[in-house]
């Protein structure tokens, strides 16, 4: 390709990227902002914020999913949250007349503590392309020793479900299914082939990745260029809102 043509191609690629914020009707938020949401969610958990602040938090953390094309997942999570809130409220209101509700109330409270983290985490992973997530980790200057395992984890996740199904099929044909009768043995029968397979894949993967430069020292770039745009700064401010509410309100 001639130099002029190559330069033109590079310029085109740059334009395409800047236009990618609202692509195909979906909102794409910088992954660093979503990781920030995860941190705020953890803070909310530690500080035991009030129910109203928690509700505001969960709604805000679910926004990336709602606007990012994963509305159904967000709806499920929010529905689950609403049910937990209702159980919690019921166990407090009817504490006198129905003491047995306490058990459900306590469980609901425990789950409610974790839900903002779960929603923030799901938002981060469902709506972010793996490459963008890795780019975010690189921009945060995390060492390779953390980034490379993160990439490999993201790569292995989908294969585990597939492997598990194959192993269950084999177990079914061999007639060695009884999970309830021999739970530990069944776990072993699933884990050993799963891990052996993972070890084999890891071996081939290392060889392939070495030939593509995994072992190179020096600065690595990222194909995704992360830039904080107005929408991202606004989202960041919105994410900090629950903490602000928690401090300001009595």
């Amino acid at each position: 390709m001639s130099d002029a043509a190559a330069n033109a191609a590079v310029l085109r690629a740059q334009e395409q990227h800047t236009a990618a914020t609202v692509a195909r009707g979906r909102l794409v938020i910088d992954p660093r902002v979503k990781l920030c949401a995860l941190v705020v969610a953890n803070l909310m958990m530690f500080l035991h914020v009030s129910p109203m602040v928690q509700t505001v938090g969960v709604l805000i953390f679910a926004l990336p999913m709602l606007l990012g094309g994963k509305a159904l997942t967000a709806a499920h999570m929010l529905g689950f949250y609403a049910i937990l809130r209702a159980v919690d409220w019921a166990s407090v209101t009817f504490a006198g007349s129905a003491p047995w509700l306490h058990f459900f109330g306590a469980s609901a409270t425990g789950l409610l503590l974790m839900l903002p983290c779960i929603v923030a985490g799901m938002s981060a992973f469902c709506t972010t392309r793996p490459g963008d997530l890795v780019a975010a980790l690189r921009r945060l200057r995390l060492p390779n020793a953390i980034i490379i395992p993160a990439i490999v984890l993201l790569r292995f996740f989908p294969t585990i479900a597939h492997d598990y199904r194959m192993i269950r099929s084999s177990m079914k044909l061999r007639g060695i299914c009884g999970f309830w009768r021999h739970p530990m043995r069944s776990l072993e029968y699933v884990l050993v082939p799963l891990l052996m397979n993972a070890a084999n894949v890891a071996r081939d993967l290392t060889v392939s990745a070495l030939t593509k430069g995994m072992g190179l020292q020096g600065n690595r770039s990222s194909a995704s260029e992360l830039r904080m745009r107005a929408a991202d700064w606004f989202a960041l401010a919105l994410i900090c809102a629950p903490m602000l509410l928690h401090i300001l309100l009595p």
Binding site: M1, A6, A9, V10, L11, R12, A13, Q14, Q16, H17, R129, P130, G131, I151, V152, L154, R155, F157, P158, T159, H162, D163, M166, I167, S169, S170, K172, L173, R174, G175, I176, E188, Y189, V192, P193, M196, N197, N200, V201, D204, L205, T206, V207, S208, A209, L210, T211, K212, G213, M214, G215, L216, Q217, G218, N219, R220, S221, S222, A223, E225
Partner: protein, 498 residues
């Protein structure tokens, strides 16, 4: 004087953990710029070792002792780190499923460029360029695990071109692919060849190399025993190649035979040999039947349904299932084994309507990756697994069961490994172990999924003989395969799925 890109000068290589002798002995080879050279020979002949020396993996990653000099561009194996080979050599390996590093296809293409610190916009431009060049725009930004093996391999070749290497080194790239996928891969490599690239391919499946290769180098037991131009190679007698463990150069004879087998009407032997399994109006498939789907009137994203013409499967026969990927071969096999419910229609076992649980009792499957089905700590324990789990047998029963177990192991040449861990066996031995467990459980149907993928001629024939011995015991053997040589030689019947 044309540039010599890859050069081996009197190279001898011995792997560090090798029990036997050298993997490669006194090999001398020169590959000129723009040439396509095919290194061929049976499994273990040394061709893979040569590819590893050409892309810097040996002796750095695959430790061993190297005598002699192996050079690719300006890199010397042993002196130059494999990191420096990254921009000189693009490598493609056999297994499409274990080669990719990222979960997403665009990230995988960007990976080599990111590692060398290329400008982001330039990386994106180059990705677009390659996708357009190879006509694989439909592979942009996809989840790699959802691609077919052929598409994954196309992606691997595209990824190898990302840094504009001086040479490409491919190690049996078509081992696990069907005919269509092989054709697409061949087209990509022809494109690379026409652009003047240097390509070295280690292969024993020769049919697809015709017209692509300029030169063939024949290996046997670590030594180069012949170098031929494309024309000279085409003139070699077929038997000589088969003796060397190579697959046929020309598969048209096998394809004719397969057509004849398909067209053959089932001989009328219903009385002495009633059908083990028969299907009526069977529709196999998955997805789109859940409760949620009924309520929302929406089919699940990957729903699939296929009508199957009524079939009768008899014991003592080897039945081939052939057809392109995605046509329903695996789904049919799984339904017959009771691993999935049919969407509609009936399956009869010994003349009686059978539910999936009964079918599962009757069937065994040897998967393409046998690692998913070995559970015990030793070979003998693996074969005795169901017997031990059932329990409740007295000492005499257990004794006779153990005798049967040893008998089966002896027949399958596994008795000497009886105390070894199943995962320490070779691929072929694991296959035989899986068959041993099926024999022990007295299964009447054994389904094998691509048992010969990646095997050279000798080993393919061995697997075929094994299937024949199985069938002679009265077992109904169902083989899912796109290996035309296996099907032509050994299948009594072939069901075509298209």
């Amino acid at each position: 004087m044309t540039d010599i890109v890859c050069e081996l000068s009197d190279c001898t290589f011995r792997y560090a953990d090798a029990e036997s002798g050298a993997a490669l002995r006194n090999a001398t080879l020169r590959v000129r710029a723009g040439e396509v050279v095919v290194l061929t020979g049976r499994s273990g002949c040394g061709k893979t070792t040569v590819t590893r020396m050409l892309n810097g993996l040996a002796p750095e990653h695959f430790a061993g002792q190297l005598d002699g000099r192996a050079r690719t561009a300006d890199c010397i194996a042993g002196d130059t780190s494999v990191n420096n080979y990254v921009t000189r050599v693009g490598s493609v390996f056999q297994n499409p499923k274990t080669q990719y590093f990222h979960a997403n296809s665009s990230d995988e293409l960007a990976f080599p460029c990111e590692n060398v610190g290329m400008e982001p916009a330039q990386i994106r431009a180059r990705i677009s360029e390659r996708l357009r060049e190879f006509d694989i725009e439909h592979l942009r930004d996809r989840s790699i695990i959802q691609l077919s093996g052929g598409q994954q391999q196309q992606l691997a070749v595209a990824a190898a071109t990302m840094l504009d290497p001086r040479a490409f080194v491919l190690d049996e790239p078509t081992g696990n692919l069907d005919a269509d996928a092989i054709e697409r891969l061949r087209t990509m490599l022809m494109q690379l060849k026409c652009a003047g690239n240097t390509i070295v391919i280690a292969e024993h499946r020769l049919a697809w190399c015709a017209g692509l290769a300029d030169r063939y180098v024949l290996f046997d037991d670590g030594q180069i025993i012949g170098e031929y131009s494309a024309r000279e190679f085409a003139a070699l007698p077929a038997q000589q190649l088969r003796d060397q463990g190579l697959r046929s150069r020309d598969l048209s004879e096998q394809q004719q035979r397969i057509k004849r087998i398909i067209a053959q009407a089932e001989s009328a032997e219903t009385i002495e040999n009633p059908a083990l399994l028969s299907t009526k109006n069977l529709v196999v498939g998955y997805g789109g039947r859940g409760l949620l789907a009924h309520i929302t009137h929406r089919r699940a994203k990957n729903a699939f349904a296929r009508e199957v013409p009524d079939a009768e499967l008899r014991g003592g026969r080897i039945i081939g299932l052939m057809g392109c990927n995605g046509a329903g071969k695996s789904t049919f096999a799984r339904t017959i084994c009771g691993l999935g419910k049919p969407l509609s229609g009936e399956i009869l076992l010994d003349g009686k309507l059978a539910k999936p649980a009964k079918l599962a009792n009757n069937a065994a499957m040897v998967m393409q990756d046998v690692n998913y089905q070995l559970f015990a700590d030793s070979v003998r324990e693996e074969v005795m697994l169901e017997t031990e789990m059932r329990g409740g047998a007295d000492a005499a029963d257990m004794c006779s069961a153990r005798e049967r177990c040893d008998e089966i192991l002896r027949e399958l040449d596994l008795l000497e490994f009886a105390d070894r861990h199943p995962m320490s066996l070779s691929g072929g031995q694991k296959q035989r172990l899986a068959i041993a467990t099926a024999l022990m459980a007295r299964k009447q149907l054994v389904v094998l999924d691509e048992p010969t993928s990646g095997l050279d001629y000798t080993h393919m024939m061995q697997v075929g003989e094994l299937l024949r011995r199985l069938a002679d015991r009265g077992v109904c053997v169902l083989v899912i395969t796109h290996d035309e040589e296996l099907a032509a030689h050994f299948c009594d019947r072939i069901l075509r799925f298209d």
